[in-house]
């Protein structure tokens, strides 16, 4: 393949083709539903690997693999894609998660034997969602980004509402209304931003909208419009309440994509749109955002400790973790921003693993209530082990990739806001409480009645979780290559925001 092969477009189109194939599968071939879905997602991973090879890691701060075509010139809209190191890392994390989700959904939706039609629709929706996710992480046109940001809601809405648990419709509507409200307010800001820009046939290109001179008051309003949408998506305190309901009622696979990938669009948007487009307003808002982030960290952790439902618990841990990510982004040091970018990837892996294993547990027990479990360590040792590793990654144990990123965030933040970093570290302590206490309640103690015969992880399930555990360990011990991807974009971002970096000398070479 030549060097100007349209990698990103191929990455966007392939899952859409896969979804179309699944939907149009003739009745005779429907027993191959899972294989077809898996093949497409694996091909997507291979394509992602190709894109990584084509990407010049030495220049990770620049937008690469870029393509720009006119889409709606009369509105100034282009189809413009391209990734820097952060976008590529998130894109790769997403495409790796999707085949694991397919594996995890193997016997869901009434497909204990032959795959059901419901499973086919579910997998097709997951593929559509994958296409949107890839596109949103690579969009370089604000309008295009907005279109994907909103269009993504529809497949997720159906994945929660049609395939989830008891309160699925309530959860799906709550999710949609929250996201739509944020998105539509962002729309007004998008329009107003465009009118500040140069206009013309490429008026929505992110490059054409950065470094504008905007009236300070207006800039603050525009920042607020964008930030609100991203804060809902991320989700941050106090607009996080849709997430626990969604996670509780969605299937584990949906939750992996929703929390592990989709919510990253919120923090990714703050990093790649809010900061470069509205530098002055970002500096102005940083203290408020940091306070909100710290509240999210502590509040999410405390609520996680208090949860009785396993899925809600994981959802609240994510609220806490997103607090860390936002904290790192708005601390404006190269270390903290790079740490946050890396955190986004690691959180996807870690939360993905937690949701998948929790899903296997729930499927076996038929209940999400933590009190219904107990003493499983002896019954299902492999499951207990993988859950423990995934849990430890959530509390950032050294040796796991999450430790690296959380450490970078805290060290980087400390350099500028020592108090904030110290309060945020409390979140790490609380994380130890909710992870270890949950492990204790589920896996230690006497075996609960009726759980003696619970089967351990099957081969398929090991394949679903194994890659995530492996990735966390590899990135934990050898974070260098990944950090090379996210460091240069962090410097570029700081330059755009216009703050001088505060060196965090301790962070350099801190990797264990």
């Amino acid at each position: 393949m030549s060097s100007d092969f349209p990698w990103l477009t191929a990455l966007i189109v392939l899952p859409l083709v896969g979804a179309a194939v699944l939907w149009l599968l003739p009745a005779g071939a429907r027993r191959h539903t899972r294989t077809v879905a898996l093949a497409f997602t694996l091909a997507e991973v291979a394509l992602g690997a190709g894109a990584l090879l084509a990407f010049d890691t030495g220049d990770a701060g620049a937008q690469q693999l870029a393509e720009t075509h006119q889409w709606i010139p009369s509105l100034g809209v282009s189809y413009a894609v391209g990734v820097d190191g952060v976008g590529l890392a998130l894109l790769l994390m997403s495409v790796v998660l999707v085949p694991l989700v397919v594996l995890a959904a193997w016997r869901e939706q009434g497909s204990t034997g032959a795959p059901s039609d419901r499973l086919r629709h579910f997998l097709a929706l997951a593929l559509v969602l994958e296409a949107f996710i890839v596109a949103v992480f690579s969009a370089r046109d604000v309008f295009f980004f907005y279109v994907l940001f909103e269009a993504m809601l529809i497949p997720v809405y159906f994945m929660i509402g049609a395939f989830g648990g008891a309160q699925r419709r309530y959860a799906a509507i709550k999710f949609l209304i929250y996201s739509l409200t944020g998105g539509l307010i962002m729309l007004v800001a998008v329009i107003a931003l465009y009118l500040q820009g140069p206009g013309g046939k490429q008026g929505f290109l992110t490059d054409n909208l950065t470094a504008l001179t905007i009236d300070p008051t207006l800039e603050k309003w525009l920042f607020a419009g964008f930030f609100l949408a991203f804060a809902i998506k991320a989700p941050m305190f106090p607009v996080h309440t849709w997430l626990p309901d969604a996670a509780q009622n969605a299937t584990p696979g949906t939750s992996v994509l929703l929390v592990g990938v989709l919510d990253k669009v919120g923090t990714f948007g703050m990093l790649t749109l809010c900061l470069p487009l509205f530098p002055a307003a970002s500096r102005w808002a940083a203290p408020f955002v940091i306070v909100l982030a710290i509240v999210s960290i502590i509040y999410g952790a405390l609520l996680a400790i208090g949860q009785k439902d396993l899925m809600r618990l994981i959802a609240y841990t994510s609220v806490s973790h997103f607090g860390f990510i936002v904290l790192g982004i708005f601390a404006f040091t190269s270390t903290s921003v790079a740490g946050s970018s890396f955190y986004m990837v690691n959180h996807g892996l870690s939360t993905g693993a937690l949701f998948l294993i929790a899903g296997f547990l729930v499927a076996r027990r038929g209940s999400q209530d933590i009190a219904d479990f107990g003493g499983l360590q002896r019954v299902v040792p492999v499951m207990a082990g993988t859950f423990l590793v995934a849990g430890l990654s959530a509390l950032s144990l050294p040796g796991l990739s999450t430790f690296v990123s959380e450490f970078l965030v805290l060290v980087g933040t400390f350099a500028r806001h020592p108090a904030a970093a110290i309060v945020a570290s409390l979140g790490v302590v609380l994380a130890a409480v909710y992870v270890l206490w949950t492990y204790q309640r589920i896996f230690t103690g006497p075996v609960r009645d009726g759980l003696e015969t619970m089967p351990d992880l099957r081969t398929r399930e090991r394949w679903a979780v194994g890659p995530l555990i492996a990735a966390m360990l590899v990135l934990g011990f050898v974070p260098g290559p990944a950090l090379d991807l996210v460091r240069p974009p962090a410097s570029v971002t700081l330059e755009q925001v216009g703050v001088t970096d505060v060196p965090a000398s301790a962070a350099e070479g801190s990797t264990p």
Binding site: S74, L75, Y146, V147, G161, R169, L187, L195
Partner: protein, 557 residues
């Protein structure tokens, strides 16, 4: 003593209007001379040909008007400029699509209209007409007359023609509203309400015209505009007149507080007519409103902004909020159309050049989705215990689980709803984006902000229907003669807990009716398919249409 000089008539530029009105007049004669069994076929093909002819005439005039900017016809009575042609093309196209639904018959040969609209509901005469299989083919000429009026309405260049066009388009609609085959009393009541309120609005408008004439001494738009460019001193006469003139137009587009007729009329009218009325009337009325606001009274912008902003805000908010609590599909779509009138008004109020093209585009996509949606409503029917298909199943609860049994039809309906909600990659989004951009550009950003908030609220009730169709586990369609137990039906809806209002109403309904999709001759399906195509294509690749409209959006003063 002055002598009468006949004005020069530019027949070519009048051709879209003349073709349709001429065909309507001939249609009346056909009614008298063509044998009964051939009448429907002849009328239908003749009407389709006339509307297609109007569309072709618009296309033929297109490039000439594009280069010249437009001409005045019949003295200063009519003006054929860019917006006129875009609106006339839109109306003709939407009328064709709507006519397909109007013409469709179920597999048992029933159309949407009473066999004999003049018969008293429930009388022996009605029963006899039904048994004889009579058909009210006058529908076609009536529809053509209404369309003719709509074609004139946005092209008017003086206030008297405006009034005449309003009456020409309204009177056939009053009649058509009262001709429903089912629920005839409701239909006749709706027609009566529509007529009375419509007459009231016409009277207000006529009075407004008189006052404006009193102030400016002319009926012609151009003269009024120049007299009102710098209103000084005693302008209360003018202001009151202008407001009353606007009221007449706002009544037609269904803006709050002049919307009271909308739900009743939309519900009572035969569903295909509702689709026609909701789409085409709105296009014509917004066209006229645009012209009046942009070319007649721009000098009064500062004075009238208060009125227009208030009406716009009220329309968006009231339409959205009341639609949320509706339990009848047609009433829900009626309030949704009120909310959409508000969204379109934000583009009108903007008073920027971009506003005109944004509104024109919005009208096209809104019209297509509306006709499609009412087409689907027309196909979804109730079936009684004997398996006989009766009227439309308009109660929301009856739509539960439709997506499971009829995925394509429910999918199309969901697409129209998503387009109404303005979800990206549907045409509705591009339309909303256009009007809100125009509003922000014109300094009306509070309206745009309220508009998006109202859109989020509106998304709630659109999505509730999608939930109902796809996520509610309605039992499989029982065979004829196996009525659904009321308790089962209520459980289905109650399970999600999201729609308590629906659930309470389910219990009150007769248990013997089940929901089905009626088999038809297929015209409505063609129409729905076309609307789906428009909604998707204009959502993903709107450029050609946007460009075409952008070059045709300058009003000739």
């Amino acid at each position: 003593m002055s002598t009468f000089t006949a004005p020069h008539v530019d027949w070519a530029h009048l051709s879209p209007v003349l073709i349709v009105l001429g065909a309507a007049a001939i249609g009346v004669l056909l009614e008298a001379f063509v044998p009964a069994r051939l009448r429907r076929t002849v009328q239908l093909s003749f009407s389709l040909a006339a509307l297609a002819g109007a569309l072709i005439a618009v296309a033929a005039l297109w490039s000439g008007v594009k280069s010249s900017g437009g001409v005045h016809v019949l003295g200063t009575a009519l003006v054929v400029d860019g917006p006129t042609l875009v609106l006339q093309g839109t109306i003709a196209l939407l009328a064709i699509v709507a006519l397909l639904v109007v013409a469709d018959r179920t597999s048992t040969g029933e159309d949407a209209f009473a066999p004999s609209a003049a018969s008293v509901p429930g009388s022996d005469y009605e029963e006899a007409a039904r048994r004889l299989g009579l058909q009210q083919t006058e529908v076609y000429p009536l529809l053509l007359f209404a369309t003719g009026g709509m074609l004139i309405f946005p092209a008017t260049a003086d206030l008297l023609t405006l009034f005449v066009a309003l009456e020409v388009l309204s009177l056939p609609l009053y009649l058509l509203t009262g001709m429903a085959r089912r629920r005839r009393l409701l239909s006749q009541e709706a027609a009566m309400k529509y007529f009375l309120l419509g007459a009231f609005a016409s009277a207000l408008m006529l009075f407004g015209i008189a006052l404006v004439y009193g102030y400016s001494g002319s009926l012609s738009y151009a003269t009024i505009a120049s007299t009102t460019a710098n209103p000084t001193g005693t302008d209360s006469l003018l202001l009151v007149g202008a407001v009353m003139l606007l009221v007449g137009l706002l009544f037609k587009i269904g803006a709050v507080p002049f919307h009271a007729w909308t739900p009743d009329v939309y519900q009572g009218a035969p569903t295909p007519i509702t689709g026609f009325m909701a789409a085409c009337t709105k296009v014509a009325a917004f066209g006229a409103l645009l012209r009046v606001v942009y070319t007649v009274i721009p000098g009064l912008k500062w004075d009238l902004d208060v009125v227009m902003w208030t009406v716009t805000i009220l329309t968006m908010v009231v339409g959205t909020v009341i639609a949320m609590v509706q339990t009848d599909m047609k009433r829900l779509l009626a309030y949704s159309s009120v909310a959409h009138a508000g969204f379109i008004l934000t583009g009108v109020v903007a008073l920027t050049p971009g506003g005109v093209s944004a509104v024109l585009f919005y009208l096209l996509v809104y019209g297509a989705a509306t006709i499609g949606a009412f087409g689907v409503v027309w196909l979804v029917r109730e079936r009684d215990a004997d398996g006989v298909v009766v009227g439309e199943a308009t109660h929301l609860s009856q739509w539960a689980g439709l997506g499971r049994r009829h995925p394509w039809l429910a999918g199309s309906f969901a697409l129209f709803l998503l387009s109404f909600a303005g979800i990206p990659l549907t045409a509705g989004f591009v339309g909303k984006f256009g009007v809100f951009s125009a509003a922000v550009d014109g300094g009306a950003w509070p309206l745009a902000l309220l508009g998006v908030l109202a859109s989020a609220g509106a998304a709630f009730f659109y999505v509730r229907i999608v939930v109902l169709m796809f996520f509610s586990d309605a039992p499989t369609e029982p065979a004829a003669g196996e009525p659904l137990e009321p308790s089962t039906q209520a459980d289905v809806v109650l399970e999600g807990g999201a729609t308590p209002a629906v659930a309470t109403l389910v219990a009150e309904r007769a248990p013997a009716l089940t929901t089905t999709v009626v088999g038809t001759e297929g015209w409505a399906t063609v129409s729905i398919g076309f609307c789906v195509l428009v909604t998707v294509l204009l959502g993903v690749f709107p450029t050609p249409v946007l460009d075409a409209i952008a070059h045709m959006s300058t009003f000739l003063p």
